[in-house]
């Protein structure tokens, strides 16, 4: 089992193997993404029952919650890839890390934007200094920091190592930031704001949400792979297999 894993790990380390293997997966992944997202969207927008308190504005949840979940998970993907790149000097992991940053930042921005729009009919204001929203905003800052550091180095290798360190430090900090923001919020919480808990959701509302979450995970993987493939071509452009690839293109 262990040797099998090690073999797989070594194979994964080869950008060329990754490029060809993902080339075979991509159509299926694209299909899963498309089916989940389209079904989930239609289900959530037209067929899920209306929320008793919030009316139809709650339908934003089908995009807000999956995007926020992936924004958070994306930071860990980035940090883990960065750690692998730092420790085992795996080139592929560096490329994954570089690709993950803008995707995560975009999803965080989607989460913030949809949250703000949802807030207007629900709380009467676009922006509320609520614990979760504030944490998302700080997460966006963390992403932007990693991206800014990544783009400011001339040497790609240095940029990767530096942003990997920053991503790791950020990961260590995220629980502390979340706890502190939570504590800060309970300190200043106005009594009028009440939140609807996800656990009390009606199954008819929850099922399309589950589908959207699966769809977003597939979408994230798809986009991450597409970006990593571009990075691979960019960095391996002097090798023979990329030359052969161009012959086919």
């Amino acid at each position: 089992m262990w040797t099998l894993f090690k073999q797989w790990f070594h194979k994964m380390g080869s950008p060329r193997w990754f490029y060809y293997a993902t080339g075979r997966w991509l159509p299926w992944l694209g299909l899963v993404t498309l089916v989940c997202l389209v079904t989930g969207l239609i289900w959530g927008l037209a067929f899920a029952p209306e929320d008793a308190k919030q009316g139809n504005s709650f339908r934003i949840i089908y995009i807000h919650v999956p995007a926020s979940m992936l924004a958070m998970a994306g930071y860990y993907v980035m940090a883990v890839a960065g750690a692998i790149g730092l420790i085992w000097k795996m080139k592929l992991a560096d490329m994954v890390m570089k690709s993950a940053a803008p995707i995560g930042a975009a999803l965080t921005a989607i989460g913030l934007f949809t949250g703000a729009i949802w807030g207007k009919p629900t709380w009467g204001a676009y922006w509320v200094w609520d614990a979760r929203i504030t944490s998302m905003l700080i997460l966006l800052f963390l992403y932007l920091g990693v991206m800014a550091l990544q783009y400011s180095y001339r040497s790609q290798d240095m940029a990767n190592k530096a942003s990997a360190i920053l991503a790791l430090v950020g990961t260590v900090n995220i629980p502390i930031i979340y706890k502190s923001v939570d504590w800060w919020f309970t300190l200043h919480q106005p009594a009028t704001i009440k939140f609807t808990e996800a656990s009390s959701m009606h199954p008819d509302m929850f099922r399309p949400l589950l589908l959207m979450i699966v769809g977003f995970y597939a979408f994230y993987t798809l986009v991450l792979i597409l970006n990593t493939r571009v990075e691979i071509i960019q960095r391996e452009r002097r090798t023979r297999w990329v030359g052969e690839l161009m012959g086919e293109a």
Binding site: A46, G55, N56, I110, T114, R229, R238
Partner: protein
């Protein structure tokens, strides 16, 4: 459309239409951009590399 009687009702979302539709529109636009960006980048990169390859073949260089 189980929840809505007409297309009109679906679009207005019981008064919350502008919020719901703008949230979805912007999010889907950003996601489409996320998806298209690597595709376009890949195509441009391959074209550029092909040109470079041809140029190098013409002058008989073997790369740097």
């Amino acid at each position: 459309m189980q929840q809505f009687d007409s297309l009109q009702a679906f679009l207005s979302m019981g008064g919350h239409g502008p919020y719901v539709w703008s949230a979805y529109l912007v999010s889907l636009t950003v996601m489409a951009w996320l998806l298209l960006r690597p595709v376009i980048k890949r195509r441009q990169l391959l074209i550029a590399l092909k040109k470079q390859q041809q140029r190098e073949a013409m002058f008989g260089q073997t790369g740097h």
